[in-house]
């Protein structure tokens, strides 16, 4: 089933056409890769998908619990709709502990109101307990439980990326958007991350969309890949198809790529 439908989507910044006439469908329970040269518009595309930017034209439709179209996309509503993301430049709550970072991810599942929290009514304790359990589970999955009381800013880069993913998962999303999750990781760590993403996807029954320049991860993980260049969609297909596409090799992968991989 197509979970996200993108129609004729464009975004301009002044003269810069960052995204142009993109038509894409994202299938449920698949891992979809978005690749393309620097400045191709991938991050912009994510920002459109999460309501941080409004499209200059075109439309995005989510078929989640309800149908939501781009007019109603707002960053703070995405989590409720079931869409969570990570950022290319890590955006953790630096001064908060790892535990609290992930706890914030659970925010949209909290239901008790302000009054119960001030009066400490039973619903408060119930809600907090459920949240703590969820966060504990996630931290264990990501092997971060012993670092739960560290301030986020004190973690190494790789761990920070993992906390970001855990935080996104705490929202119980159906769609997970990852922007360059492997950036700054060495090949070893990338391998581990690849496995982790695969596992998480299966375990939580997610639909994953990811942007990545590390082809080892992309080729291993993705069911389908879309290639952007100068805001346009220049190719789509399975990893094998894309990898051998002349245009993609020329614009993105480079001549040596095949030899090196």
């Amino acid at each position: 089933m197509e979970l996200v439908k993108v129609k004729e989507l464009s975004k301009d910044f002044g003269g810069v056409k960052a995204v142009q006439d993109i038509n894409i469908g994202i299938e449920e329970h698949e891992i979809t890769g978005i690749i393309g040269p620097n400045g191709a518009g991938k991050t912009t595309f994510f920002n459109l998908l999460t309501g941080i930017y409004t499209p200059s034209s075109g439309e995005i439709t989510y078929h989640l619990n309800n149908k939501v179209s781009s007019r109603h996309l707002k960053p703070q509503k995405m989590a409720k709709y079931g869409v969570a993301r990570t950022f290319q430049n890590i955006r953790l709550f630096k001064e908060m502990t790892v535990f609290d970072n992930v706890l914030i991810g659970y925010h949209c599942n909290m239901t008790y109101g302000i009054l119960p929290s001030i009066l400490r009514l039973p619903s408060f304790f119930k809600g907090e307990k459920a949240a703590n359990e969820k966060v504990t589970e996630l931290l264990k999955i990501f092997n971060l439980y012993d670092k739960k009381d560290e301030k986020a800013k004190n973690l190494s880069y790789g761990d920070q990326r993992k906390v970001e993913i855990a935080r996104a998962l705490a929202a119980n999303p159906r769609v997970l958007l990852l922007d360059e999750p492997a950036a700054g990781m060495n090949p070893n760590e990338t391998n581990e991350l690849t496995k982790l993403i695969q596992w998480v996807k299966d375990y939580f029954q997610l639909t994953v969309v990811l942007i990545e320049h590390d082809m080892s991860l992309v080729m291993k993980l993705c069911d389908k890949i879309f290639v952007f260049d100068y805001g346009h969609l220049i190719a789509e297909g399975t990893p094998a198809e894309v990898q051998n596409n002349e245009r993609v090799i020329k614009a993105y992968l480079g001549g040596d790529y095949v030899a090196q991989a």
Partner: protein
């Protein structure tokens, strides 16, 4: 319910009551005379102000330089209700709280988009606007102020309202709402992406903070008997901010301790008028550089898990 009846909570409640009764006793014995009590009122009001500003600035990261304006609104509301309309104090307090909270919504909503220093300047402007409106408000006495406001503030009211402020704000902070608010300070975009309705929380926090500042204003008006717009100017806002920063942003306990400490500093400088402000300035500066609040912060844990 059993979580509420833990031993710790019982101890806390007993402690709170014990302090109340002890002070009451000392007042009756005359150990706490009118001068000490006056200073206790000042400190108590400052505690409420600082803790409520801490919610806005310390926890949520919304830089406000206009907190005294909310206090002014509360003070005038209560003064009018009790002095001009002759209503009981409780009405004055509720009126003050509501009026100030409304003002909080009023200033919080349009300035949502502003960040950091720009918000600071906008709130400073708001504070000045309130003051100027006060100066021109005939019914409220204009520049001449309002006097002969009945003195209703006593130890019971003061203490009850301090406790109320502390309980409400710290319980608010130690809930998912509080975490949401802190995450806004850390990274607004990430926070929104996690489903935190940042606009709602910012306005909410502004109005809760304003509400308590309004209550502080009511206590002030109904103790000090006389108010005028200039009592709630920019420097008053700065004084509150100094208490908050000195106590540590995001530390309620710190705000309480520093409200007491700074009042004592101010008292001790009364008798050296020529150098009072110079010394005060140097103290401020030293505090900013040597950060005594880091000492306090060793004890604080705003996000202590409850459940």
């Amino acid at each position: 319910m059993k979580e509420m009846l833990t031993k710790k909570n019982a101890m806390k409640t007993a402690g709170i009551l014990a302090i109340y009764l002890a002070v009451l006793l000392l007042m009756n014995l005359g150990v706490i005379d009118s001068y000490i009590f006056l200073n206790m009122v000042t400190i108590g009001i400052n505690i409420i102000l600082a803790v409520s500003l801490n919610l806005i600035t310390g926890f949520t990261g919304q830089f406000s330089l206009g907190h005294a304006a909310f206090m002014a609104i509360g003070a005038y509301a209560s003064a009018i209700l009790t002095a001009k309309l002759g209503l009981p104090f409780i009405v004055g307090i509720i009126g003050a709280a509501l009026a100030a909270a409304l003002a909080g919504v009023f200033i919080g909503t349009p300035t949502l988009r502003l960040k950091g220093d720009y918000l600071a300047i906008a709130t400073l402007g708001f504070g000045e606007i309130i003051r100027i409106v006060g100066l021109n408000w005939e019914y409220g006495g204009g520049a001449m102020g309002l006097n002969d406001i009945p003195r209703y503030t006593n130890w019971t009211w003061l203490y009850a309202l301090i406790v109320l402020t502390l309980v409400v704000i710290s319980n608010f902070i130690r809930s998912y709402n509080g975490r949401a608010v802190i995450s806004i300070k850390e990274d607004e975009i990430a926070s929104a992406s996690m489903g935190v309705n940042t606009s709602y929380y910012k306005v909410l926090v502004f109005s809760i903070g304003a509400l308590f500042a309004g209550i502080a204003g009511a206590l002030y008006a109904n103790y000090f008997y006389f108010i005028k717009p200039d009592s709630f100017g920019f420097m008053k806002s700065v004084d509150i901010l100094v208490i908050v920063v000195m106590g540590g942003l995001g530390s309620i306990r710190g705000s309480v301790i520093s409200a007491i400490a700074l009042s004592l500093v101010s008292l001790s400088l009364q008798s050296i008028p020529e150098l009072r402000m110079v010394i005060y300035a140097v103290i401020l500066f030293l505090m900013m550089v040597y950060k005594p609040q880091t000492l306090l912060s060793k004890f604080k844990s705003p996000l202590r898990k409850e459940a």
